[in-house]
């Protein structure tokens, strides 16, 4: 970006169709914008109907855009040139603006003027010509195409100042953070669940993560890895809670039941029960999983059916119809892929039977569970023993027993 811009224009997407809730959505997005502008102290955000303007006041446009384009609820960002509202200055700025844009022999062009301030002496239609002709004579290789132009120069004439912009940089889209309620995300260390979490967050859900560990069968590194993944996700919203659930007792009890091919089904059912209880405790109204139809034995339609029976909360599966390749592409884009492929085992990959059932029978599964008289208590104990960690982009806050010294002592660094 080699032009000096004074301002950014941030556009909202589908939230503008949301009637009376619109104010709430826009406010949430504005708060998110402001929280990221902390790192650019001179820039300020101004909210106007249906839009947010960010006055840069000298802060570098490309860096601010890079930071803001991950905000959910914004569809696009345009860097804006601001000039006083009089014809001469508008034309001069427009010529200067278009000249600096990359263009070739067949680049097509159009001016789209909008007279917001009706006191301005020239109508929008007149302005298209008044601005367009001098630009065309300054850039002779441009051709006019009013239907599908490569460069569409937008000119917004307001009472005192006029905005010129043409670049439209796509932003994250979706709904502003937390505007569609809260859900619990079952976060393993794999590729899919962080992507499912991202998709849910992009849709305006606040996410709390639930992770099951089977220490000593799983290593502490698996847990670190999950916290690292949550940290990447926290980059999109600023903060995320992670509930670490001790799952060892349940897993061993289920393993002892001797139903090798059903163990994954049984484990997943217990996990959903625990997640449901944690959802109630934390005021979440849905569960989110990374299931993708048919990907593994526990994600066949029959398995999903038997597993999903244990919860009465809506089970959201953002990736259910998505191909693995597309999930991987998105994981790379959001920055979770490299962490996900680290080789530490989580509890799902332990005790994996040789041939897990792809078509479990609900009655048999329920019978096994009824035989495990302690299962209900063990599930309650797991909920009780859950450790909650707060993860932010720059730190992980864990409650430690008081007598245990910090491993990483600040004084050493």
């Amino acid at each position: 970006m080699n032009l000096d811009y004074e301002m950014l224009l941030l556009r909202f997407g589908e939230i503008t169709v949301k009637g009376k809730n619109r104010a709430k959505f826009e406010k949430a997005a504005l708060a998110h914008v402001r929280s990221l502008l902390r790192f650019f102290p001179k820039a300020e955000a101004i909210h106007e109907y249906g839009r947010i303007y960010v006055k840069l006041n000298g802060q570098p446009a490309d860096q601010v855009i890079a930071s803001l384009k991950n905000i959910f609820g914004l569809t696009s960002i345009s860097p804006v040139k601001v000039v006083p509202s009089n014809l001469e200055e508008i034309v001069a700025a427009a010529v200067d603006f278009v000249k600096k844009l990359p263009q070739e022999e067949h680049t097509t062009f159009k001016v789209h003027a909008r007279r917001v301030f009706k006191g301005f002496p020239h109508s929008s239609h007149e302005m298209n010509h008044l601005v367009g002709s001098p630009v065309l004579s300054a850039c002779p290789q441009l051709k006019v195409d009013v239907h599908h132009p490569d460069i569409e120069l937008r000119v917004e004439i307001r009472e005192h100042v006029t905005y010129l912009f043409c670049e439209v940089i796509p932003a994250a889209g979706g709904f502003p953070r937390g505007t569609n309620g809260k859900a619990m995300l079952l976060l393993s260390g794999g590729i899919d669940s962080p992507v499912a979490g991202y998709s849910a967050m992009r849709r305006g859900l606040e996410i709390e993560c639930v992770h099951f560990h089977s220490y000593p069968f799983t290593s502490k590194k698996a847990e670190e890895k999950v916290l690292d993944l949550a940290q990447v996700l926290s980059g999109f919203t600023g903060r995320i809670k992670v509930h670490l659930v001790p799952f060892t007792d349940i897993q061993t009890a289920l393993a002892k039941s001797g139903q090798d091919n059903l163990i994954i089904t049984l484990m997943r059912r217990s996990m959903l029960r625990i997640a449901t209880k944690l959802a109630e405790k934390n005021g979440a109204l849905a569960l989110v999983t990374g299931d993708s139809l048919g990907q593994v034995a526990s994600q066949t339609l029959a398995s999903m059916n038997v597993i999903g029976k244990v919860t009465d909360l809506p089970l959201l599966r953002p990736l259910v119809m998505t191909d693995k390749e597309d999930i991987i592409t998105l994981a790379k884009k959001i920055g979770t892929y490299d962490l996900s492929i680290l080789p530490y085992e989580d509890c799902c990959t332990l005790f994996v039977p040789k041939s897990p059932s792809t078509n479990p029978n609900l009655r048999i599964v329920e019978n096994i569970e009824n035989g495990l008289t302690e299962l209900e208590n063990m599930i309650d104990a797991a909920v009780q023993g859950t450790e909650t960690v707060i993860v932010k982009p720059d730190e992980i806050i864990r409650k430690k027993p008081k007598d245990e010294p910090e491993v990483v002592q600040e004084q050493w660094f």
Binding site: S219, K220, K221, D338, V408, Q409, W412, F413
Partner: protein
């Protein structure tokens, strides 16, 4: 005794020494071990990587810990040369590089690579134009030091990097940053630098530890194969106490850079004035060079004699760079700067650090004047 040989090595910072002692006895676990001790060591390793990355303003994954700058330079140059043989076998460097770059290039030459050694001007600098003009279609890597270790000249690495990225984006750019970091500011992000070497012991950290910055997306052939540590870029069990010690030293050096540079500038100016006042001495450093290195020649006098005379007066300085001072040949760097054999064989380097004051410089100059007078007296008699 005043230690004025900071370009050779520096006294460890007391806080760094404490960190290393604490961690060495507390956290001896191997970060690759799965048990609690290993896991704790890995946490320290991770934090140290973040702190180092923060000091360099790069991503943690771009930092590879090494045994020091010699290894970093070898890993960068040989790693790139071996990895990208399909692109060609031509390297570009300068005539005034540190031996760990220069000899590495010589070694590659003996193995069939071609190396262009760019000449420098009388101040010891190359120009971006020289670098760009030397690039050929088979050039794989350009390696230019940030600050010369003998005379302190600053190379225009930011401009070189930017020009290379514009005109020859496929050519990798390595910078030996050992003498620059903490004294002369440099932004790795904006200057097209792909590989950057650092050593801890020049920054009041421990010896035997350093790092190589490898820009994201660049893969080098690893010099050391083995257990796959450092994301398989440098195998060998990580030296956690030293790595954390280096992180602290780097952070302190980075935070104190501006203030230290300003202080050293004043001392440098005083030294340059004092040395210029002695007509027998010939200054090889310029006020535009790095603020901590001041180099002069004393034609007609054995440098070692001068060094020991200053030592008697309580000042420890250096002849040439520490790495080459055991040899008796003239300085390759000074010859490259156009000095005569005589001038290139009689160099003395003073290099300063945090501890030095204006009073120290006054006393040093007094000692220097005394030493020169004694030498001249001897010469007169002989």
């Amino acid at each position: 005794m005043k230690y004025m040989d900071y370009a050779a090595t520096t006294p460890p910072h007391p806080e760094v020494a404490r960190t290393i002692a604490d961690i060495m006895s507390l956290h001896y676990g191997n970060p690759s071990s799965l048990h609690i001790l290993g896991e704790q060591s890995e946490q320290l390793l991770k934090k140290a990587r973040e702190v180092c990355a923060g000091a360099l303003q790069v991503r943690p994954a771009e930092i590879v810990f090494t045994s020091g700058a010699t290894e970093s330079n070898n890993a960068a140059i040989k790693g790139a040369a071996l990895q990208f043989m399909n692109r060609g076998k031509h390297l570009i460097t300068t005539e005034i590089e540190h031996p760990s770059v220069y000899e590495c290039c010589k070694q590659l030459e003996s193995l069939g690579w071609e190396v262009t050694y760019l000449p420098v001007d009388e101040r010891g600098q190359v120009t971006p134009e020289q670098v760009c003009a030397a690039v050929r279609s088979d050039t794989v890597l350009v390696s230019v030091m940030h600050v010369n270790n003998e005379v302190g000249s600053i190379e225009p690495v930011e401009e070189i990097g930017r020009r290379l990225k514009q005109e020859h984006p496929r050519v990798l750019f390595h910078v030996d940053g050992v003498q620059g970091f903490g004294k002369v500011s440099l932004s790795l992000q904006d200057s097209g630098i792909d590989l950057y070497s650092l050593s801890a012991h020049k920054l009041r950290g421990p010896k035997g530890i350093g790092l190589l910055y490898i820009r994201e997306g660049i893969k080098l052939l690893p010099l050391l194969a083995g257990g796959g540590q450092e994301a398989a870029r440098r195998s060998g069990t990580e030296n956690i106490p030293y790595i954390v010690g280096m992180a602290k030293a780097l952070r302190l050096a980075n935070e104190g850079q501006r203030e230290l540079a300003e202080r050293l500038r004043r001392l440098q100016a005083a030294l340059i004035r004092g040395i210029s006042d002695l007509p027998k001495l010939m200054l090889n450093s310029t006020p535009q060079g790095a603020p901590h290195i001041i180099h002069f020649s004393y034609p007609g006098m054995k440098a070692e004699a001068m060094l020991h005379m200053l030592e008697e007066e309580g000042f420890l300085v250096s002849t040439k760079s520490a790495c080459s001072s055991k040899k008796s040949e003239p300085s390759r760097v000074l010859l490259a700067m156009g000095r005569s054999m005589e001038e290139a064989s009689t160099g003395i380097r003073i290099s300063l650090g945090e501890e030095h004051t204006e009073q120290d410089i006054e006393q040093f100059l007094a000692a220097l004047r005394k030493a020169v007078a004694r030498m001249e007296d001897l010469k007169g008699r002989g």
